[in-house]
């Protein structure tokens, strides 16, 4: 029998604000980026506005990411994002098996999320890849393209604008794929909307005394 549930605070106001600002920025960047890569044939001011919006949201995303990095470094919470060996292997496999089989059989989740351990093993691994590879790839290639007119040597040193643009677009496809997966995974909580509510209100439910993984 499951332990009784308790309502606890998962996310601070800053964490929620950070998340939703990043969400808006990522969606806007994906949308304007798609428009810029595949614009309609007819002219008008759309292209110019899309360029400006893309640059503005990129600046917002980078600033927000920078502040979050400072926040997590200063508070020591950065450790939450670093996967351990067991996250990547034993627990990761267990986590994956749940999504592949257990979730269909109605089995209980192998890990209970708590405010202290709110990132699950596969989440940690995914975020680690996003924050250390995909996000830097997007920021670096985007910034170099933005600055190509002023510092052309920088972009040339890294392969030139066509290569940077291609890598930037490839990263964008990956980001959108991650976004789809990320939104879907929010439905795998205790209820379909539980995780979404937690990110909106800051509060979620966990089993009383459940600070460790389940046997």
């Amino acid at each position: 029998m499951n332990a009784p549930l308790q309502r606890v605070r998962f996310y601070t106001l800053y964490e929620r604000l950070w998340h939703w600002v990043q969400a808006v920025a990522v969606v806007a960047l994906a949308g304007t980026g798609f428009y810029l890569s595949f614009p309609p044939a007819e002219g008008g001011e759309g292209f110019r506005l899309a360029v400006t919006a893309h640059n503005a949201f990129a600046a917002l995303l980078i600033a927000n990411a920078g502040l979050a990095l400072f926040y997590n470094l200063a508070s020591g919470l950065i450790r939450r994002y670093v996967p351990t060996a067991s996250d990547m292997f034993s627990q990761g496999v267990r986590h994956a098996r749940y999504y592949m089989f257990g979730i269909f059989r109605g089995e209980p989740h192998p890990f209970d999320r708590t405010p202290e351990k709110r990132l699950l093993p596969l989440q940690k691994v995914t975020y680690f890849a996003i924050l250390n590879f995909l996000l830097p790839l997007m920021v670096v290639t985007g910034a170099l393209r933005f600055l190509a007119g002023h510092y052309p040597d920088w972009s040339e040193a890294l392969g030139g604008r066509p290569l940077l643009a291609t890598l930037h677009r490839f990263g964008a496809w990956m980001f959108v794929a991650f976004l789809v997966l990320h939104i879907y995974m929010t439905t795998t909580g205790r209820t379909i909307l539980a995780n979404m509510k937690a990110m909106l209100t800051g509060y979620g439910e966990c089993e009383e005394g459940s600070q460790e993984e389940k046997p």
Binding site: P40, G43, E45, F104, F146, G149, R161, P162, R169, Y184
Partner: protein
């Protein structure tokens, strides 16, 4: 740190671009011809001292009745030898001669990069390489043919064989320059240089207010080379034409031969002087009326009309004429003359010094320059020039003139443009500032089947109806935007007009078949020969109409090749070539510049659209780009089923990334595949969860 601050500043500035974009375009500066309250001031007085007109022996020519020698007359104060040798207008490639097959153009028969030695696809003629047969153009033939476009000196004075004066070979040797062609009979003849003299560099052509260029051309065409300079004065009343040359009007010259410079009209070279050879279309007054042709070749080939006149007030039948309240060229309207951009490099007023040398990299300005007297004694006539696809002569001087950004502060006026610097680095200013050209330009010259009047099949661009017909509508055209490698190695997008030519060559190494032999192959007294007519006469009316005058099939080309073979030409074949002409004039008012991003960034952009090069491709021969133009074709040249020839640009040519006009890269396909896989996985996973949840619910949670 400064870079970080600068990046932050850039982000702010780019953010402000949207606000700027909403503003109406800035009004052009008020100083224009139309806004001047008073007419321009009278020309400055002639400062040139009076001159003595001397002949080649240093005697007073009007008194002796001998031909004027400007080498002697002007040489009294100016170093005419220096001026002639430092002058690519005079040399036209003489000082850059190569052995056939080594010219930068890649043509096996070219012997130089300039008019002298470079095949002319518009005329279908070439200077015959030394010692070769059959003769197409000997030196004297070349001088006469190019009289309208060559100011004398260079190859009109000195031999390409021995470097001495024409007609003065080293003692004991035959004169190789004596080979010439009798145009009437097509037979070789010996040219008598002693009788004709040579054409010295004609200072008057550029420095006289009203030179008689037509009389000069007539004198050269007649073979009166030595009288060419004298003939230039015919319109001034100082000389009159005479059956055996020219007669000096001695009443106007004093006994000492001194002539007033004011009366002569000596002075600075003015734009009208340049227009004599570069295109008479560019006159300074309305209404501008011109025809495409050899005397307007700048318009015919490059679409350029350097005139301050308003297009709406011109005499041309322009599409949408009423709304074209622009000058043909805004720089001409703002009172710039040719020589202010194409100046003598050592003119103290314009000399920038050699600031690109590493030892003076600490200098922003070099105050040391020639004195006026030094400059006037030895003015360097290798005039500052731009860097264009067609400017192959004197390429070592390419880019010596100031470009747009040397005079304009583009950053100050392009706030509306996102990534302005990236645009400036990737494109010539003319890419946006010459969005449309209205002169009808020559697009195709097909010499494979000339008419009986020795005319090639010609296609023109930008005109509906026959070219030069006043009733034909000049629709204008947007030049192609193509990448070109400049002399300094950079590759930028430039507006280009492409001219495609086809002609016959034969032998190995290949040489163009002279037009007179092609005519012998094609024609008899009645017109096209019967076997040629039988091949071409599609409608079987017994004649070759204008529509039928194209070698559409291999069989038709084979019939001509057989005839050339019978004349002794081995392996006659058709070759095709593309010569781009960089558009560098015809800049309009800023509010007429291209401001619509979609013009380039998008599927309908200039970078992506197929470009028709020719309506008909003779015998399916695909032309190749000449090697010395620097233009990089951004895609294949293909022949369509209707035999038209098209350039099909690939997206993102030659290292350029044009957002919105890029190719779908394999990494894009991979990314799209990952995204679709994710969507499919999510749909499958979610669908299964939903289905099992419904099953569990319907079976009371037991499943």
């Amino acid at each position: 740190m400064s870079a970080i601050l600068r990046i932050f500043w850039l982000v702010l500035m780019e953010g402000a671009a949207a606000t700027d974009a909403a503003r109406p375009p800035a009004e052009p500066p008020a100083i224009t011809i139309r806004n001047l309250a008073h007419p321009p001031p009278a020309p400055a007085p002639v400062l040139h001292p009076d001159v003595v007109l001397l002949d080649a022996e240093g005697r007073v020519a009007p008194i002796q009745g001998t031909p004027l020698s400007l080498r002697k007359s002007c040489g009294a104060c100016h170093d005419t030898a220096f001026i002639e040798s430092h002058n690519y207008h005079a040399q036209v490639g003489l000082d850059e001669q190569t052995a056939p097959g080594h010219a930068a153009s890649g043509r096996p028969w070219d012997t130089g990069p300039g008019m002298f030695g470079r095949f002319d696809p518009f005329l279908g003629r070439v200077l015959t390489p030394p010692g070769e047969q059959p003769l197409d153009l000997g030196t004297a033939d070349w001088i006469r043919l190019y009289a309208p476009r060559h100011a004398g000196g260079g190859p009109a004075e000195r031999s390409r064989y021995h470097g001495r004066t024409l007609g003065d070979p080293p003692p004991g040797t035959d004169d190789p320059d004596a080979r010439a062609l009798d145009e009437a009979s097509g037979s070789p003849m010996a040219w008598d240089w002693k009788k004709s003299g040579t054409v010295e560099l004609n200072c008057l052509l550029c420095h006289l207010r009203s030179p008689d260029n037509q009389e000069r051309i007539r004198a050269i065409r007649r073979g009166d080379f030595a009288w060419a300079s004298t003939a230039t004065l015919a319109g001034t009343g100082w000389v009159t034409g005479h059956e055996s040359g020219y007669r000096w009007n001695t009443e106007r010259t004093g006994p000492d031969g001194v002539v007033s410079a004011r009366a002569l009209g000596l002075g600075h070279a003015r734009s009208d002087n340049c227009r004599q050879c570069h295109g008479r279309a560019c006159r300074c007054s309305d209404p501008v009326v011109f025809q495409s042709g050899r005397d307007n070749w700048l318009a015919e080939a490059g679409g350029s009309v350097f005139s301050p006149g308003r297009m709406s007030q011109s005499g041309m039948n322009l599409a949408g004429k009423d709304s074209l309240d622009d000058p043909w060229d805004v720089h001409a309207e703002r009172l710039l003359s040719c020589s202010q951009c194409h100046h003598a490099p050592n003119n103290p007023a314009y000399d920038r010094g050699a600031l690109d040398r590493p030892e003076v990299r600490h200098l922003a300005f070099d105050a040391r320059r020639a004195l006026e007297s030094e400059y006037l004694f030895r003015p360097d006539h290798n005039l500052a020039k731009g860097d264009t696809a067609q400017g192959t002569v004197g390429r070592r001087f390419a880019g010596t003139m100031r470009d747009c950004r040397d005079c304009h502060r583009a950053e100050e006026t392009h706030e509306f443009l996102p990534f302005a610097r990236a645009h400036f680095a990737a494109m010539e200013c003319t890419a946006c500032h010459v969005p449309r050209l209205f002169p009808a330009t020559r697009r195709v010259t097909d010499w494979t089947l000339p008419s009986q009047r020795r005319a090639p099949r010609v296609e023109n661009a930008g005109v509906e109806g026959p070219v030069n017909d006043p009733l034909s509508l000049l629709t204008g055209q947007a030049p192609a935007l193509l990448p070109r490698r400049a002399a300094n190695g950079t590759i930028r997008l430039e507006p280009q007009l492409l001219h495609t030519a086809w002609y016959w060559v034969a032998g190995e190494p290949a040489r163009p078949v002279p037009l007179r032999d092609l005519e012998r192959a094609l024609f008899d007294d009645a017109g096209y020969r019967a076997d040629i007519t039988a091949e071409l006469d599609r409608d079987r009316d017994g004649t070759v109409s204008e529509d039928e005058r194209v070698l559409a099939t291999g069989s038709q080309a084979g019939a001509v090749a057989r005839r050339l073979g019978e004349l002794g030409y081995r392996n006659p074949r058709i070759v095709g070539e593309i010569q781009p002409f960089t558009v560098s004039h015809g800049v309009g008012h800023p509010d007429r510049a291209q401001r619509d991003c979609a013009a380039c960034h998008g599927p309908a952009g200039r970078m992506c659209q197929p470009l028709e090069l020719a309506e008909a491709t003779p015998a399916g021969v695909r032309p190749e780009m000449l090697a010395d133009t620097g233009v990089l074709l951004p895609g294949p040249v293909e022949i369509d089923p209707d035999r038209s020839l098209r350039l099909r640009p690939q997206r993102c040519p030659a290292g350029f990334y044009v957002m919105g006009a890029q190719r779908f890269h394999p990494l894009d396909w991979l990314g799209l595949l990952v995204l679709l896989g994710t969507l499919a996985g999510v749909a499958l996973h979610g669908g299964l969860r939903l289905w099992l949840a419904v099953r569990r619910k319907s079976s009371g949670g037991a499943a």
